[in-house]
């Protein structure tokens, strides 16, 4: 099974099925291992990917019900795009969570975007009323 010298492309189109995000993280684990990323970085990527995927599942209110996940290996950097065709959102309107407020509030959730940003090297949101793409990268070193 000798790998050919072509930029490997990994694309998943997944529907809203419980635990489907774990199929995405299995994929990111295999890709991260192939790139020689540390287990720590691989686990960080998986966690960020879980959060981006469940956001797409849960908040997009997409009619197509499908989420696309693209992995691109760019040299020593892994780029992951998570795209939904849902209603979009304005990231600047999302409050940054903190534990003190959450302990007093009825709304304990709202941590996904924060986690993605802390765990990945770069994160970009592109959102319109036709959907959202989260682009995140992680460098090997």
């Amino acid at each position: 099974m000798s790998a050919k010298k072509i930029t490997p492309k990994v694309e998943l189109t997944i529907p809203i099925i419980p635990d489907m995000e774990l199929a995405a993280t299995k994929t990111s684990e295999v890709v991260a291992k192939h790139m020689g990323l540390s287990e720590e970085k691989s686990a960080e990527i998986s966690m960020a990917l879980i959060e981006a995927t469940i956001n797409a599942f849960e908040h997009s209110e997409s009619k197509s019900a499908n989420v696309e996940i693209h992995f691109v290996i760019q040299g020593d950097t892994l780029e992951i795009k998570v795209t939904d065709h849902g209603k979009g959102f304005d990231k600047s309107q999302v409050a940054i969570p903190n534990i003190e407020e959450k302990l007093e509030s009825d709304h304990k959730r709202g941590w996904g975007l924060q986690l993605i940003q802390e765990l990945m090297d770069t994160v970009e949101f592109a959102s319109t009323e036709d959907g959202t793409t989260v682009t995140m990268t992680k460098k090997k070193i």
Binding site: L22, E51, P97, I99, E100, L103, K108, W111, E118
Partner: protein, 114 residues
């Protein structure tokens, strides 16, 4: 597929809940149900053994924040041990470690809680 499960035992005053499986909304709610039942029975000290829950999501962890809040009302405490590094990191980022304690082993946890 790993379905979520909990096993509960007590060591003195401390309730130890060993989870297994993905700590998502479903898993988090199972943990909180166990905790609230034990709290109704007067228990205030809780330890989660997360050895077999190496994957979590933020919804599952949010439910732990709810447990911490309820425990604060009764002067109780929550601790954890056997965390995968990414789970500990997640608890740090979300600030859980300010209001609950990550221990490095069961022994340390039992000592630290009593």
């Amino acid at each position: 597929m790993s379905d979520f499960n909990t096993e509960t035992r007590t060591e003195g005053d401390i309730v130890i809940i060993k989870t297994s499986g993905y700590l998502n909304n479903v898993g988090g709610e199972q943990v909180s149900e166990v905790c609230y039942k034990e709290m109704d029975a007067g228990k205030k000290l809780f330890l989660l053994d997360l050895e077999d829950s190496k994957v979590v999501n933020s919804i599952g962890v949010s439910i732990l924040i709810e447990i911490i809040e309820k425990l604060q009302d009764v002067d109780g405490r929550l601790g954890y041990y056997n965390l995968a590094p990414i789970v500990e990191k997640t608890f740090n980022i979300m600030g859980l470690t300010k209001y609950s304690t990550v221990f490095q082993s069961e022994e340390e946890a039992l000592e630290g809680m009593s």
